[in-house]
Each structure stands twice: as structure tokens, then as C-alpha cells.
């Protein structure tokens, strides 16, 4: 379980997050939605210790973020940040292998290697495993990074807008795989999504943020309402129910 207690974060007196508390138990997909600048990425970065905590407390299982050993946390929680300027000329296999680094610290075992091959296969990267990252398309590179977080084999996976560079087919196939990871392996995936329809289609739970505060939390069909579209996203898109789930007509 990830627990966030009274989290507040400021950048030069401007409040980015204000008094956020939440719990994410093990298993399932949690979608984090909200307008631009709501503080979604900051919340994720704080959970993954990419930013130093200012006020509040975050625990991942029994580990306290900011106090526990970095390696220990790296085996419990993985994050894929939003912008990946991959100018590195690593091969796809090298990159995915680094996902095992928190375990072997440079001396991969047979088990590490077979997990890497499994990850490459799962994300359809086997054919391009020996290609350099800088020769891949944005979508393929994104997949390679997701595969790296997969082989990191953590209970919690945080993804910051992973669908940004992906076309429709690639987006769907990534979401389907994440769904499988949550269902078959009991992983917990917290994912920042821009497309509310993707959130309602794949997430078990939706968290809504606006102006640095949490303003909605629950099952997609309970959270995604005409009021949400109007009050949180401040637009008047129509909401229809299709096949039992709410769909925003953009």
C-alpha cells in the first residue's frame, strides 16, 4: 500500500500541491486525471523520490520515502517519467537490462537475463533488441522504457503520461498489457492520463486533481460525470454512456 499523508509542495511560494492524502492498496490500475498544471506529475515525482519532500509523508509498504534505502525502494516502486530525451546509444536490450540493476548491481544472474528476455518478448521488442535507442521511433522507445520498468519487477509502477507519443493502436496495446499486469500479476499501476475515455475504459479507480488538490476519487463511472467535465476541466463537452461506461465526446 502506498500512503500519502498531508502532502504539500511549493515552488517559490506558489502552491503546487496542497494537503494531499490518499491510499493506494496493492493491485489494480489507478488513473490520475485533471487539467494541465493540476500537479499530477509533481505528485508522481514526489512518490518516486524524484523531487525532495517539503511537507508531508509518503510510505510505500513499510518503507518511508526520503528515509529508506534507494535500492530497497527501487525494488518496490518504479517510475517512468514524462519526458525521455533518449540521446543515449544504448541497445534496447541494454536499456531493459538496466531494469534489473537494483537487484544485481552490475552482475546479472541467469534469472535476471531470462526476465529481460521475457520483458522484451512481452512488449514485442525482441526483434529490435539489438538496435540502438536513437534509431527507434518515439513509440518504440517508449515501449522500451516501459519494458525496463516492467523487468524492475516492482509492486508499484508509476507512469507519467505514457501514451503521449503513441498512436491509437500502440496506446491500446499498452493499456491492454498494463491491464494484464494488474490482473495476472497483481501489480499496482498509477498512471497519469490525458484522455478521460482511456481512464474509464481501463482503470479500476480514478483520482481527479485540480489546482494541486484532490477533488475526486472513485470508480470511473461514479467520478466521470457531466459535473466533472464542467467544473474540473471547465469545458462543456458532452458525456454519453456507451456500453455502460461514460464516454466524453470531444
Amino acid at each position: 500500500m502506498i500512503e500519502v499523508h498531508n502532502l504539500t509542495y511549493r515552488i517559490a511560494d506558489a502552491p503546487i500541491l496542497t494537503d494531499i492524502s490518499l491510499r493506494v492498496p496493492l493491485g489494480g490500475i489507478v488513473a490520475l486525471i485533471g487539467p494541465n498544471g493540476a500537479g499530477k506529475s509533481t505528485l508522481l515525482s514526489l512518490m518516486a523520490r524524484l523531487l525532495p519532500l517539503q511537507q508531508g509523508r509518503i510510505t510505500v509498504d513499510e518503507l518511508t520515502v526520503g528515509q529508506s534505502d534507494d535500492r530497497e525502494l527501487a525494488r518496490r516502486l518504479a517510475i517512468l517519467p514524462q519526458t525521455m530525451h533518449a540521446t543515449s546509444r544504448l541497445t534496447v536490450r541494454d536499456l531493459v537490462s538496466f531494469g534489473r540493476y537494483p537487484y544485481h548491481r552490475g552482475r546479472p544472474t541467469k534469472e535476471d537475463r531470462s526476465l529481460v528476455e521475457e520483458g522484451l518478448g512481452l512488449f514485442e521488442l525482441s526483434a529490435m533488441a539489438d538496435r540502438s535507442l536513437d534509431t527507434l521511433s518515439g513509440g518504440q522507445r517508449q515501449r522500451a522504457f516501459v519494458a525496463m520498468t516492467y523487468v524492475q519487477d516492482t509492486n508499484y509502477v508509476l507512469l507519467d503520461e505514457p501514451l503521449n507519443n503513441l498512436d491509437l493502436a500502440a496506446s491500446r496495446s499498452l493499456m491492454v498489457r498494463l491491464r494484464e499486469l494488474a490482473d495476472a500479476k497483481g501489480r499496482t499501476i498509477i498512471i497519469v492520463l490525458h484522455d478521460i475515455n482511456v481512464a474509464t475504459a481501463y482503470a479500476d479507480r480514478v483520482l481527479v486533481m485540480k489546482d494541486g488538490r484532490l477533488c475526486g476519487d472513485g470508480a470511473p463511472r461514479d467520478v466521470v460525470t457531466p459535473e466533472l467535465i464542467k467544473d474540473v476541466f471547465e469545458t462543456d463537452a458532452t458525456l454519453r454512456v456507451v456500453d455502460g461506461r461514460p464516454v466524453v465526446l470531444a
Binding site: 524524484l50 534507494d70 535500492r71 517512468l80 517519467p81 543515449s88 546509444r89
Partner: protein, 316 residues
Amino acid sequence: MSRAVSGLSALGLLFLGSLFVGATPLVPADLMSQEAWELIWDSRLPRAFAVILSGASLAIAGQIMQLIARNRFVEPMTAGTGQSAMLGLLMVSVFLPSAVIGIKMALSALAALVGSIGFFMIIRRLPPEETLLVPLVGIVYGGVIGSAAVYFGFQLDMLQYISIWLTGEFSGTMRGRYELLWIAGAAAGLSYLVADQFSILGLGESVSLNLGLNYRQVVLSGLVVISIVTGLTVVTVGAIPFVGLVVPNLVSRIAGDNLRRSLPLTAMAGAGLVLAADIFARLVVHPFEVPVATVIGIIGAAVFLWMLYGREPHVS
């Protein structure tokens, strides 16, 4: 593997060849005489070792610096590290003139470290997409520190030292006067033990933190290697530009950025480049010679221009 074998044999040939190049004529047939062996032992062999050590370690230092900066256009000699080493050495010569050479070297490397940390604190604030901003800032930063060194050198009447430090050359290398370069070589060699961590640094701070790396500590250890290598090279043979820039770029194109695989190649290529340049420097106006830094400067500038304009289309 075959790449390593052919690289090593090429390097071995250059090494052997370099023993027979110099102002005093020496051919393999002379090896029967005692004087020939003394010449080799006191002068030619030390010179060959000094060239190989500085070439290999400067290339490795450049590669580490480029991974930390996540920018392919920086190298220690132009981005403030080399200039800080000179400034440090100047200060030591003024304030601790009687210090033993080891202390002088250590303080010069420390000054190089402070200078490199300063550089990285500045470029941290630059937008990463602006690839050319980082080397430009580096050149300005190095220039400012370099001119401070020149100013003090002028005031203290030590300008001739600065001109020696600024132009790397091996003509004065003899037994007993180059051995500190083994420390530079060892520092560069030790970085192989943490090659994975340096490769991960090249993926950025977030990925490094995500994988449980102590980011600051790994960056600092990289800067320590860079500073020891740069400081000791500047002091022993003088600044050799472009090795740390050109070699890692060429190696990265051929062998990628996984240091565990590419670092030995970088070391060999760096050693080979400086060795070839040093042989050329000894032959071009034989029996005199030109500084190796001048030869490398010309080769390096040409390769660098080719790198800038001949970039592969998919590299954004």
C-alpha cells in the same frame, strides 16, 4: 572480440614504432648496443607510456563527462576542468612553493574538481534540448577561469609555465618525470568497475534515481576521475585538446553507449590517436618536433566539423 584484437595489435605496432622515432636515430639493428637500450629505457619507453596513459585516460574522462552532462560536445579540457587545474597549480606554486610534487598535483586535481562541480551546477539549469548551449557555456566558463590563470601568471611572472601547460607535448618526457600519469591511468581504469552506473547516468537523473542509484554520489565520483586525469595530464605533459571530445564520439557511433562494452575501445582509440599524432609530431619537421597538442588540434577540429555537419539524420 576480433575488433579488440585488431585494435590491440594496431596499438602494439604504433607503440613499437614510436620507440624508433626521435631526434637521435635508432633502428632495430642498433638494439645490440648498450646505448640504444639506455635511450629506450630512459626516454623512448617513458614517452610511449606517457602518450598511451594520457591518451587513454583523457578519452575515458571525456566519455564520462559527456555521459554526466548528457551532451556529446563537452570535454574536460575546454569546459573549465583543465583551466581550473592550471589556476590551482599556479596558486600552489605561489602559496606553497616548497610543497612536494605529490601535494602540488593533489591540490591541482582538487582545483580541477571544484571547477568541474561549478560547471555542472551551471549547466544543470540549462534546458536539455539546447544541445549546443552546454558546450558554449563550457567554453565561456573555461575561458573565464583560463584568463584568471593568465592574469595571475602575468602578475607573478609565471606566464611561461602557463604556455607550457597550455600546449601539451611529450618532448620532455623522461624516466622519473612522467610516472604520475600512471595514477591518471589507474583512475580512468577504475571507472570500469562502475561502468554500469555511468551508463545509467547517461539516461538522466530521473532514470538513475528510479534504478536506485545515489545520483549525486555517482556524479561526484565521475567528476573525481575527470579531475584527477585532467589535472595530472595538464601538469605532466600539458593540455591536449579534442581527445576527450572526438574519441568518445567516434566510439559511441561504433560501439554504442554501454560503457562496459565501449570503455576498453575508448581507451585503445584514445591511446592510438595520441600515439599516432605524437609519431607524426616527431616526424613532420624531423629532427625537430612540433607539440602533439597542435597536431591533435588540427585532426580534432576536422573530425569535430565532420561530426557536426555529418550527423546521422535520425539523431535529433
